[in-house]
Symmetry: C3
Amino acid sequence: MSARFRLDALAERFALELRGDPAQEITGVATLACAEPHQLGFLANPSYRKQLTESRAGAVVLGAGDAEGYEGNALISRNPYADFARVAALFEQRSPARPGIHPTASVDVEARVDPGAEIGPQVSIGARSRIAAGVRIGPGCVIGEDCEIGEGCELVARVTLVARVRLGVRVLVHPGVVLGADGFGLAFDDGHWLKVPQLGGVRIGDDCEIGANTCIDRGALDDTVLEEDVRLDNLIQVGHNVHIGAHTAIAGCTAIAGSTRIGRYCLIAGGVGIAGHLNIGDRVRINAMALVSRSLEGPGEYASGTPIQTARAWRRSAARFRQLDQLARAISKQNKDLPDD
Amino acid sequence: MSARFRLDALAERFALELRGDPAQEITGVATLACAEPHQLGFLANPSYRKQLTESRAGAVVLGAGDAEGYEGNALISRNPYADFARVAALFEQRSPARPGIHPTASVDVEARVDPGAEIGPQVSIGARSRIAAGVRIGPGCVIGEDCEIGEGCELVARVTLVARVRLGVRVLVHPGVVLGADGFGLAFDDGHWLKVPQLGGVRIGDDCEIGANTCIDRGALDDTVLEEDVRLDNLIQVGHNVHIGAHTAIAGCTAIAGSTRIGRYCLIAGGVGIAGHLNIGDRVRINAMALVSRSLEGPGEYASGTPIQTARAWRRSAARFRQLDQLARAISKQNKDLPDD
Amino acid sequence: MSARFRLDALAERFALELRGDPAQEITGVATLACAEPHQLGFLANPSYRKQLTESRAGAVVLGAGDAEGYEGNALISRNPYADFARVAALFEQRSPARPGIHPTASVDVEARVDPGAEIGPQVSIGARSRIAAGVRIGPGCVIGEDCEIGEGCELVARVTLVARVRLGVRVLVHPGVVLGADGFGLAFDDGHWLKVPQLGGVRIGDDCEIGANTCIDRGALDDTVLEEDVRLDNLIQVGHNVHIGAHTAIAGCTAIAGSTRIGRYCLIAGGVGIAGHLNIGDRVRINAMALVSRSLEGPGEYASGTPIQTARAWRRSAARFRQLDQLARAISKQNKDLPDD
């Protein structure tokens, strides 16, 4: 990290209030616990507040409230995490783009690759696919037929776009992702399964990010859709014909079954399961590992499951869970106010 | 989609009763909501029945009951979803097979590839593996040593067969799948883990389909087995020495631990966890995100978990779950009919 | 399997007590149920004890207690599973290493590959990465920039190391694994998401094993760390800045959110979800599909969820779960000993 900035330069660049030494040099970013005297730390999560006084950071990005009584150099922010992210981006090392097609790549004669795109080693691009300027396609990616990749997209490595997948601009796709595999469409017929052809595609809006090994199936007839600025973590399953609204973020290992619609600005935690053909409203929050088996109105926060216990205590609770109806009937016999079923 | 059929031709081809205009031209398939006047729709799920009257579809595949009172063109079916799937297959676009080995592929001298097989770009095939006629191996697939791939199989792209994996005929494997990785076999010994060699293979029956990024481990000693017509969705984990019976279908993100046997014609929903060394009978249905910690008799339908609630209501239920045994004891003190433990 | 050993040779090699015919020849290993007369079986799990008398195995590795009354040839062990693993390793077939770089691989001029390393077909290695002697990198792997791979590591196939990933010695990584993808770091700002740069790396200790399609994200600022001898099964998600202590083993489909610390010698079952910023002590066991939403002290065994039931019985229990607080209040009205909230 050879970048280096004066604290007053950072304050001016990001319109932050500076307290302390304007000439303090910042050569990198770090957590409060690990920061060296020339690094910038941040405080956004109150559970790390006690680290503030002991931190060796050369300066800290933090809110006005947390800054009270702090004697070190500070950049005061109304959104410390976001402003820290902006500063951190100055220190990100990215190898420069190398436009052109690597000699080990295999590009169909009917594909159209902009000369400003970078096509890495071992990449394969199928017929009629179009790659815009400023796109980076990393090693081992497979782009099938009839795909479109908009300006500034990055496919980090070993990403697969099976067919008829369209990415907007500035979409970031992490390794192992599979976009446009067949949806899980089966008709039971005469004692065996009949595959239902999956004829739709996948459309991903601008500024989406898709985590490693996540899968988004192509639609059966219409497309599977992510609107703009949707953020998916790793190992997520998105079934065919799902529609996810703009600015929704979903954590790892969550699964969404086919034809469900999810609203805008939702926050869905990890390990959640959402059944098919449901409607989830705008600004719905779903807690970790919840099972969503009915439509949910937004805004609202939802949960299911049971709290973690010692296994010994849990075994007793779990045994009683099986008796719950019987217990409830016994109570209601003695108490006329309670529901009887 | 340049295919085009008269409605009477479709009725005859699939032995369906036609009501309406025999000369109606069909140029594609669509959902009721999106169908254009020359497209064929279908009605199989009653929750979409209200879309029937408003649909612009040129014709609809539906059951005799749903057809009563419907005035549009109709193909009457006893299994509308299956018959729709058959019609839809007529409109599926598939690029023609290109038999031969792509120049960027790497094929071991001891491998045997039928001249009628298509081996795509960046594919690697190991020693003693055999690829039958009509097989398509898409870009970036890795076939290790001692594998067999039967006639008509398709490995879409970036599929890995580690070693000693045998596929029957017409098996369809989606991108990112890993077949035959080592099972998770560990012996604890003297303060550290000792790896237990995984010496078995994987056998996949005819007509199976395996979804994107799903993993099926090789057996420790015997093989891991899928019988014919098993259908696996995406991101499923199948542990070593699992045996899955014919015609069983499993939805995404389900995990099956080692040595468990699953019967025939089971329907296992998404996000289910099944412990190791269990027996699941024929025609067992398991609901989404259930945890199966004991063997289950078939036929039958099983579930676990708690229903989705608002987070506020859930916190109260969850707190009480921890007190359940105490509550139950209080009730049983007052009620001699109830179990005391 | 052409290896072949006399029973007394095996007994001597692994310091086991021999009962029976020292000259018995062993040509392979098998389960008790499938063993042929020249194969060695083992008994470690008591639920397979009844198979002992019917087994055709030429000899069996088992504990002294289980050996009582057994009349076949036996190797007596204090840890039968571990000793069986050692014997089985003698029968493992591994193709010999082929040091050198495959002609279809793409190696950056600034990368350093030891001449004793094997670099397979379609591999890509980025700038400043270093590959030690005895390393095997299988087909289709992508090694990004600034990675280090220690002696004796094996990347089976199609593994991705995005950037700044360091593996100790003898690390085994299965296909589809993604190490060092960006963590899921987002700041919400002015109605849309802002990506928080992920500047850290991943450090994997000696003798770790990482299962197929598992993902370990790079740290946001510091590294994500696995200490030595950590064993991860397939399809696991490890978030950024997670720290996993030595000798911990984790089964498939478990997810660990960012910045959580897990102790040494933990056993975490499959499908578990662990929230972020928690501390899990040493020697903690967590049962399958538990949701861990608070820190856990070790040693201890923990669980959550409800037991599997028929769907009919479950629906009744689940409906009552939603009424639990109401039921509990009714009971406590009648019983002063119970908690009131």
